[in-house]
Symmetry: C2
Subunit: 357 residues, 2 copies
């Protein structure tokens, strides 16, 4: 087939994926015990590579979950006794809020329409909210919250916990973990791996909160923070982990580190720039996100006069896949993923074909 | 390497695993959208194959989780308002009990020492317990609860829910789902796949209970039964699933169906018989589980006079891996997995080498 996927996740697999998978299979790593030194070394390798890539200090653990959605639940269980607060401007930030209600917490929200973004100065955090839930990159609408605004929001509210959903942007956002309490992402987006693994970065301060509330409120049973943290000290997980996913993630993170995360970020911005410029100048296309500062660098959402299904079909014939809009935008929007797995050349090819429509 | 793994999980990969993985990669299935018809067909294929293999009626959904441990939590959330009851005779049945406490339920237990098993006639279920948690195969001790006893226990207590942990035995136990409310397993045991996926079989009756309690008690947020069930009706999952794991599981289940589940069960019993006979007649070895009816067919635990570490080392030099005992049994016991991935010939080779010690 040799299709190029510009879909926002599951997305294109990173070019080195197949080689790493081959090594995994040849070394029979799918059969090793998750309580062996061989596993602990593999686990530590991945954590170390991610720590370097994302500049995560030792105050924060890097933990593995079944998916990033699971992180929503675990963060709420660990840091919220009673009240959380959510910035909502799309389907995924809304789900974080829904999770809080489903756990019988009181969830406050500050909601904006799809396509709009948040500045720290506009946000009033309710007095008793224990957690501020932010979304760096809203995969449904292509809105990003600038990292500087996330940092400012925490600085304005130093006693609250702040969580950053970077599911579809990590390793692009350069978060300062001396400020950020917890963040999480999936591997099937910008890391170019098959789905089935979530990564949760979480501070000692969150751990202390979880310890302090557990006698009054349940902090969950499966992958509860205390047990995850304790196992992580020994480079293990409480349950049998997705060893294949953890291995592959470590190898991709190593590849990213070889290239240098700043180079990856620069190339991401370069390709995003090519796409936005093309969309702005091409009749029939316009960026869904009007405010430039809020435009995602990793998921570009395009308003299209031609029905999106027709464009997707035409582009498919050229050997490329792009996503439709999310929810209400399904028929009239395109979502184009801009992850490290797709090269400048492939991006230029996509632009070339879109230009011929 | 070409090592044969007789370890109880992660275990030997099924011989067809590599071919299925190759097909998955070649068809770029790691990049397909989990909201596409292509994914829904893949999902349905796996569910249909499992339904045939395990004889699961349409009254029960077959759902996918990040691991089997997650099923413990989801079953407790869905079926227990206040009180659960647990048959404990090893580390994994104990963990199911611990999960109930961690969710602030009142967990009753009937505990027996490691190596002993349960008969329905001995079990008195507390009056207000809503769920009876049983373990078909206690991976830590090599004790099985005969399927007939599990069925009897439910028949004695028809108003209670009964859950069956078959993590390290499915597809061996022939459960009757007109009686059993819910059961679950992992793919890294008898299905011979890499870890990272749990399978949860659950009845409409559990769904109704979850619906009835959700206004008073949280039934969880991530992978809660109502949302999982609703998505499953459409052959989807709430969050991005482990598409690779689900695909591979479907193909292995299809392979098992081609062989016939009764043939797989017969071969399992044949190989278990070879192992137990050898252990019983060989000086220095004895089965840890004294009562024959309670001896696991899939995880054989052996008391050894020679330190287990020495035996594991010698066997490793012969190209085979066997497990040590669990917890307190680590130094003096061996655990030998007997899953479909290891052939009669490989089992005979292991017995031959153990006989030379």
């Amino acid at each position: 087939m040799g299709f190029t996927f510009f879909t926002p996740g599951p997305a294109a697999l990173y070019p080195t994926f197949e080689q790493h998978l081959k090594t995994f299979v040849e070394n029979q790593l799918g059969s090793i015990s998750h309580r062996s030194q061989q596993y602990r070394d593999l686990h530590k390798f991945t954590v170390d590579q991610l720590r370097t890539l994302l500049n995560v200090p030792d105050t924060h653990a890097i933990l593995f979950l079944g998916s990033a959605s699971e992180a929503w639940e675990r963060i709420l269980f660990s840091t919220v006794e009673l009240e959380s607060f959510h910035l909502i401007n799309g389907s995924f930030s809304k789900k974080f809020y829904d999770y809080s209600n489903a756990l019988n917490k009181y969830a406050h929200k500050f909601e904006k329409p799809m396509g709009e973004g948040f500045l720290a100065v506009d946000v009033e955090v309710p007095e008793y909210a224990e957690l501020i839930a932010t979304t760096h990159n809203e995969t449904s609408s292509g809105v990003q919250m600038p990292v500087a605004e996330i940092h400012k929001l925490k600085q304005k509210n130093p006693s609250k916990f702040i969580a950053v959903d970077m599911v579809s942007s990590a390793p692009y956002p350069e978060l300062d973990y001396s400020i950020i309490d917890t963040a999480f992402f999936s591997v099937q987006k910008a890391f170019g791996l098959p789905a089935g693994l979530g990564v949760w970065i979480v501070s000692e301060r969150c751990l202390e909160k979880a310890k302090s509330i557990r006698n009054t409120y349940s902090i969950g049973a499966h992958n509860d923070l205390l047990t995850l943290w304790k196992n992580a000290q020994n480079n293990e997980t409480p349950a049998t982990p997705n060893v294949m996913g953890i291995y592959l993630l470590g190898k991709i993170a190593e590849d990213f580190n070889r290239i240098g995360v700043q180079n990856i970020r620069k190339e991401t911005e370069h390709k995003a720039n090519l796409l936005y410029k093309f969309i702005e100048k091409t009749p029939g296309f316009s960026p869904f996100v009007k405010e430039k500062a809020f435009r995602s660098q990793t998921v570009i959402v395009v308003d299209s006069e031609i029905p999106s299904a027709d464009i997707i079909k035409t582009i498919k014939e050229k050997g490329m896949a792009i996503g439709s809009g999310y929810g209400a935008g399904k028929a009239t929007q395109l979502r184009i993923a801009n992850f490290p797995a797709t090269s400048v050349e492939e991006t230029e090819k996509l632009i070339h074909e879109l230009g011929k429509l």
